[in-house]
Structures are given as C-alpha cells and as structure tokens.
Symmetry: C2
Subunit: 164 residues, 2 copies
DNA sequence: TGGTATCACTTGACATTTCAAGCAATAGGG
DNA sequence: CCCTATTGCTTGAAATGTCAAGTGATACCA
C-alpha cells in the first residue's frame, strides 16, 4: 500500500497497530475493572465514585455542576441524572447558588463523605495494582506528557482540574 | 499522610495523580471523539466499526462470535445485540457453524465491507490526529509495553488478536 | 446409550447514557 | 426598562449496555 504522503500514511505501521490494539483493550477493559471493584466493595459505579471523590477534595465538599462536569469529563445531562440518583441515596445534596440562581451546587453529605473515605484506599490500591504496577517510576512523567498531549487535541478547550 | 509500607503507599504521589487524571480524561474522551467522527462520516458507532473492521481483515470476512468478542474486548451479550442491529442494516450476516452448530459465525456482507472500506481511511486519519500526533516514534514501543502490561493484569486470560 | 454437564450463544428485563427539547435566571443591547 | 439571547441546568424519550436466565448443541461419563 503506497503512502499518500510523507507525514500521514493512510495505514498504521505494524508497531502503531500493536499500540492501537493495546490502547483499545485498555480503553474498554480498564474502566470495567475499576467499576467491578467499586461495585463489589461499595455498591458504586466508577463514575459515581469519581463524582463524589471530586467533591470530597473541595473546601466545602461542594462544586458547581458545570465544574464537576469539566473535571469528570462528563456531559451536564449525565451529571444531572447521576446527581439525582446519588441524592436519592443520601450521598449528595443539590442547592441553587446564592449569587447566581441558574447555577446548581452539588454538596457531598456526611454519608457520602464516609462512603468515599471508606472506599478510597481500596480504590487507590486497585489503581496501583492495575495501572501503576505496569509503569516504572521513570515512565510516569513521559506517559503523562503523552496522555496530556492526546487530551489537548481531543478536547482543545482544556481539561480543568479543580483546585484542591 | 504516612505510608503503609515502602512498596504500596496508600495514596498517589503528585506525579501519579497527574498521570491518573490524564488517563481518566483519555479513557472517557477519546472513545467519544472516535464515536463522533465515525457517526458523522458513516453513521456507525466506534464499536460497530470495530466489529466490522475485525471481520474485514479475516480471510473470508468471517469470525466466530466468541473470537470477535475476544478481539473487540466485548461480552458475548453485547456482541449479540450489535450483530442483530448490523444484520438489520444489511452489513452483517450470521450463520451457524457447519462443524459445531453451537457456534455462530458473523460474516461481513458486501455492503458492510464497502462501508468499512469507505470509512477506514477517515478513521485512521482521525486516530493519527488524535493519538499518534501526541506520540513521538521513539515512544511507540515503550508505550505499547506499558499498555500491554496493564492488559496483562486487567485481563490475565490474555487479549487475543485474530490472525490476519 | 442415556443422562448430566458444559459450551456458545441469545433473549428480555433492567440500568445507564445520550440526545433533543425545555425552563428559569441572567446578561446585553436598544 | 424591556426584549431578546445566552447560560446553566433539568427532563423525558430513545439508544445502548449489562445482567441473569434460557435454549439448543455437543461432550463426557457410566
């Protein structure tokens, strides 16, 4: 197969293809594995855990829905549905923002905080087991650069990390 | 926060946390971006495309459902639903295996093959733009090792790649 | 052979996510 | 001020994925 031009061949090389297949595997299997552990140990999906973990790191265990959307990489719609379910379980509370009543703040309740605290060590251990076991300390920084590079292109508007 | 022991601290270091956040972003945003391009250009989800792409690489455009499950990292159940939808669109056909009638073979039709052929260059270009732009040639092999290392732990039974 | 176990899916019910409106609050002209 | 546009979120319906149970075919053992 001839290449269209020098910089962007139409197909992937053998090495690129291997990388792409491996990435595919990780992209689909890793979230499932994280879901499984959190479901088993705490009855939460990975996304529900992430939702609450992000809140737990905030000053007042509070974030505006759209900030939460940015740092969990989710749509506002998805977030809204999840918030409703977590609210029903008593883990989260929603209240209109005092200064701009369009905005909704999600607040982690005591119960929700307790759930995160109980689950966090197990979750971190699982992340370590599944991910960091396979990454030598030297490889952490370069790999971070690669992933951030991908994010910059996939989502040029920029990924927000809430201040801790 | 004190560490529990030398080899497995309870929390992630600052660098590890950055990597983990970046990986989270890629894990959720990259599939969405790939979906978006394939949906736009061909009316297919990424998974549907993958399903058909794997078939298109086979000798007789045919794979047993469970082989397809292995190489797309999907459950048999999910595969079955997708096969039904693709069958309804005329892209795929299913037939019982002649020698073991428990097994089902999925076969890519002419229409399905044409769809893959039309879409493949666009998809590869998108994968290049989103992923390989961010990876220097030197980094391809090490990164592959890391991802394969993760897969070995996430799914010890081993990821199968169908012979081409 | 006959009976049970296992395999390879398929199916239907349920949960979740996405998509397209919809709604209330605020911002920004004229 | 008022009128429209925009923002920030919510909602309900449709698409999609997951889970548990079911089905038919084959393997295995007595």
């Amino acid at each position: 197969m001839a290449e269209a031009n020098g910089s962007a061949p139409e197909w992937l090389s053998e090495e690129e293809r291997s990388l792409w297949l491996a990435m595919n595997g990780v992209l689909t299997r890793l979230p499932q594995a994280l879901d499984a552990q959190l479901e088993r140990d705490g009855g939460l999906s990975y996304f529900e855990y992430l939702f609450m973990a992000m809140l737990s790191e905030q000053e007042h265990r509070t974030l505006q829905m759209s900030e939460l959307a940015a740092c969990t990489n989710a749509s506002l719609s998805r977030l809204s549905h999840v918030a409703r379910r977590l609210e029903a379980r008593g883990y989260v509370r929603r209240e209109a923002d005092a200064t701009d009543r369009r905005c909704t703040n999600a607040v982690l309740t005591e119960d929700g905080f307790a759930a995160v605290v109980a689950l966090a060590p197990l979750h971190v251990a699982e992340v370590r087991r599944l991910v960091f076991e396979a990454i030598s300390p030297d490889a952490v920084l370069p790999l971070t650069r690669v992933l951030e590079g991908i994010m910059d292109i996939v989502d040029p508007s920029g990924h927000v990390e809430p201040g801790r």
